[in-house]
């Protein structure tokens, strides 16, 4: 059934663009969004491979990994991961997943593709800056991966890069690997600063008539808040990265006590950014599932305003909690109390968002196509991440749990739901809009269930490993007597991880097959209300034939008295449509 409003189609430029200008050096936000998606999915595979090697070593220490015998010494020894490479693997896994998967996938792909469409704009505010932001992170990815091939190997001081370990090559034996890591990070930061300026300026200034702030789709709220958070928090770490690079190369003393510096300064600079960063990654994931829920419950989101205020409150509070990563780091112990309190407070806006999402299902008429499965899966698993954070927020309990697998399991239960479940939900949901074709439902459901089941099998056991005292970043933990009994757990988690990786194959097949042979998508296959569904699938260059006018809130599903169970934002009032 069609909405009575005419679908709005646009037509593009008069002139034809060359292949290079259309697919490579495009200034169109939709193409740039797809480029970000391609990059992040590729880097996800690399990050997944590092995880495979790590998990293999944890399950069967000092045994060769099948299929990796070709890696030359001294990186690997006939397929066996040595301790040096193990440290490089855990470092690069974290760095790749946070900075080169999570951010480009959630912000770069979905933010770029959707923000102009959802606000009714023809493109981002600064299209050429947008293009530059993609090519900057593309180059940064090459710089980062180059670290695997330089003498001394890739960065190996953890994705957190604590000094002084990272500040003097003699401590790690890694020289150019960490320098390249710092340069890649600095470029990545620059890329997202450029992108962030675009996100905010577009969302603030280029909204269609009638689109007040309180009528913005929640995805736009989360993306813009994430962009603001990033913009305001990354500065100190940019300074810190320069300071660390200088310590390593020109003999400065910032983080080297031996030369007069301070070992803790890096941690403060890192976590002042690092904590807001986790919300930069988490909020857009929430934004995606918040868009998907109303579409498949056919009713409004519960508590739109409460959620908006919670998003903003999360952003502000995120600047006040950073030292909960540093309770046992050597800071004055009296600082633990104020930071424990702020950490408790930040769970309030979270709880509001989560409970509101749960309440959104009440009274619905819920269907479960693949995007909805992933969105619900994201909510259900994120809850585990959220509640386990309470353990770590207590400084007392953190004495034991800090630096153990409990932390690893906790953050995988916040990041994975947001980035992977949320991001994949977004792919399945907006694939029709992006590529003009529907994805295959059967393959999608297979993908979901394998991913959901195996993900939980990998990480639930790791909570237990953490409670048992299993330290992080430790090659061969079962050499310790007190951890010997965890051998079975580590092997179980590794089997599950292999299944998790293999379970992405149906998705890869589905993605590429659907690109060419999927059923053609209509303008609004999901019968949704937000502005991106007002135009064709995919939208033309310029997005809309004429600038849409917004008449109402974004989630008017099953409005009493309406003829259909959805009422798009861009549809004139029923009376005006002559109904």
């Amino acid at each position: 059934m069609q909405a009575a409003a005419e679908p709005l189609h646009g037509h593009g430029h008069g002139e034809e663009l060359s292949w290079w200008r259309k697919y490579v050096f495009s200034v169109d936000h939709k193409m740039i969004g797809k480029q970000y998606m391609s990059l992040s999915l590729f880097m996800m595979l690399i990050g997944g491979l590092t995880a495979l090697l790590i998990r293999w070593e944890l399950a069967w220490p000092e045994t060769p990994v099948p299929g990796f015998g070709w890696v030359p010494e001294p990186t690997m020894f006939e397929g066996v991961v040595p301790p040096e490479f193990y440290n490089a693997l855990i470092t690069m896994h974290g760095t790749i997943m946070v900075f080169f998967v999570a951010m480009p996938f959630l912000l770069g792909a979905f933010g770029n593709f959707l923000i102009p469409l959802m606000v009714g704009a023809p493109d981002m505010a600064f299209p050429r800056l947008n293009m530059m932001s993609f090519w900057t992170i593309f180059t940064a990815s090459l710089v980062l991966l180059a670290g695997f091939f330089v003498p001394g190997g890739a960065a190996a001081a953890g994705w957190t890069g604590y000094a002084p370990l990272s500040a003097d090559p003699q401590y790690t034996g890694v020289n150019w690997g960490i320098n390249l890591w710092l340069i890649a990070l600095a470029m990545e930061f620059a890329s997202f600063l450029m992108g962030g300026v675009n996100f905010m300026t577009t969302a603030i200034n280029m909204r269609a008539p009638g689109l007040s702030l309180m009528r913005l789709p929640l995805l736009v709220w989360t993306q813009v808040t994430a962009a603001v958070l990033f913009l305001l928090s990354v500065g100190p770490l940019v300074g810190g990265a320069i300071m660390l690079l200088f310590d390593r190369t020109i003999g400065t003393s910032f983080f080297l006590p031996a030369r007069g510096g301070d070992a803790l300064l890096w941690q403060h600079l890192f976590w002042f950014f690092g904590h807001p960063e986790v919300y930069v990654v988490m909020l857009p994931g929430f934004g995606i599932i918040l868009e998907i829920f109303p579409v498949f419950t056919r009713k409004p989101i519960f508590g739109y305003k409460a959620i908006v205020y919670s998003i903003i409150a999360t952003g502000i509070l995120s600047f006040l909690v950073w030292a909960h990563h540093m309770f046992v780091s050597g800071i004055d112990p009296r600082l633990a109390t104020p930071f424990s309190v702020t950490t408790i407070l930040i769970s309030v806006p979270f709880a509001i968002m989560v409970f509101s999402m749960v309440a959104s299902f009440r009274g619905g008429a819920i269907s479960y196509p693949t995007p909805m499965l992933f969105a619900v899966g994201a909510l259900g698993t994120f809850l585990i991440g959220g509640v386990t954070g309470i353990f770590l927020g207590s400084a007392t309990v953190d004495i034991f749990l800090h630096g153990t697998y409990f932390v690893v399991a906790h953050f995988h239960y916040t990041l994975f739901p947001s980035v992977l479940f949320g991001g994949l939900a977004g792919v399945y949901f907006w694939f029709p809009k992006m590529f003009g074709r529907m994805m295959n439902e059967t393959l999608g459901k297979i993908h979901f269930w394998i991913t959901f089941f195996s993900f939980n099998c990998v990480f639930i056991p790791l909570f237990f490993a953490g409670v048992a005292g299993n330290m992080r970043r430790v090659y061969n933990p079962v050499q310790y007597d007190f951890l010997k009994h965890l051998a079975g757990i580590h092997q179980f988690a590794t089997y599950a991880a292999i299944v998790l990786l293999a379970g992405q194959i149906p998705f890869i097949i589905n993605f590429f097959w659907s690109l060419f042979a999927g059923k053609r998508a209509t303008d609004n296959p999901w019968k949704a209300n937000t502005l991106e569904w007002a135009t064709s699938s995919p939208p033309p260059h310029g997005n809309f034939e004429k600038v849409p006018t917004v008449y109402r809130d974004p989630y008017e599903y099953s409005l009493p008295g309406a003829t259909e169970d959805y009422l798009p934002q861009y549809a004139p009032t029923p009376a005006a449509r002559g109904v």
Partner: protein
């Protein structure tokens, strides 16, 4: 999950475990309740013939109460957790007993050095002894730790004592514990410190009072001549 903790042999370990247990039950209850409600809604409100969705937006205060009241309860419980944990933290990290056995702990790439002051009770005297990877202490007595690092940040972790403290080059940090059961327990490093991080395995040896005296005598033989040279540092 609580049964997965390593055996606790420390005076303050039980307090930490109790706070963990408190969080576990509070959080566990809310987690199960929320998942149950979610699951119930997901099943109960499936799309069915003849059942139209309810247009509820949650923008009136009476509707929002369903969210805000649980949130207020969660907040109150969280603050309660903080208040339960606060005194324990202060006891372990902010306070330190006045007397006890003294040891200097130095973390370095890639082992732990333990320096004992010897019979004169003072450091930086000729009778100091440094032993690699073995921390010998008497049972039921305070052990006063001075924590240092030689090169990079390490983290001194004794799971059975529930003790963890990062050690920093260029800084001295004080810690303490009191072990309640004799035996041998492991020490690990809990902060990535280089390629040998995984291998920084040390041992805490808690002696009963006889055993401790024996160990002391072995390290510093009660010499017939008072100015006998102290034994060379050894791995006992």
């Amino acid at each position: 999950m609580l049964s997965w903790f390593p055996e606790n042999i420390s005076t303050f370990g039980g307090d930490i475990d109790r706070v963990f247990g408190l969080i576990y039950y509070i959080v566990g209850f809310w987690f199960l309740l929320t998942e149950a409600v979610l699951l119930y809604f997901l099943v109960r409100y499936r799309r069915r013939q003849g059942h139209a969705p309810t247009y509820s937006r949650g923008d009136t205060w009476s509707e929002l109460a369903w969210v805000l009241v649980p949130v207020a309860i969660v907040l109150a419980l969280d603050l309660g957790i903080d208040m339960a944990g606060g005194p324990v933290w202060a006891h372990i990290k902010e306070q330190r007993p006045a007397d006890g056995v003294q040891v200097i702990v130095t973390g370095k790439q890639f082992n732990w050095n333990f320096t004992y002051p010897g019979p004169d009770g003072k450091f930086d005297t000729p009778d100091d002894v440094t032993i690699e990877n073995e921390l010998h202490v008497p049972v039921n007595q305070n052990v006063l730790l001075t924590l240092r690092a030689k090169d990079v940040i390490h983290s001194f972790f004794i799971p059975n004592v529930r003790l963890k403290q990062d050690v920093l080059p260029g800084r001295t940090i004080r810690g303490w514990f009191n072990a309640t059961k004799p035996g041998q327990y492991e020490i690990a490093c809990a902060e990535l410190c280089g390629f040998g991080h995984y291998n920084m395995r040390g041992f805490l040896i808690v002696h009963d009072s006889n055993g401790y005296q024996e160990w002391l005598n072995k390290q510093w033989p009660p010499a017939a001549t008072a100015d006998a040279a102290p034994p060379a540092p050894e791995h006992s």
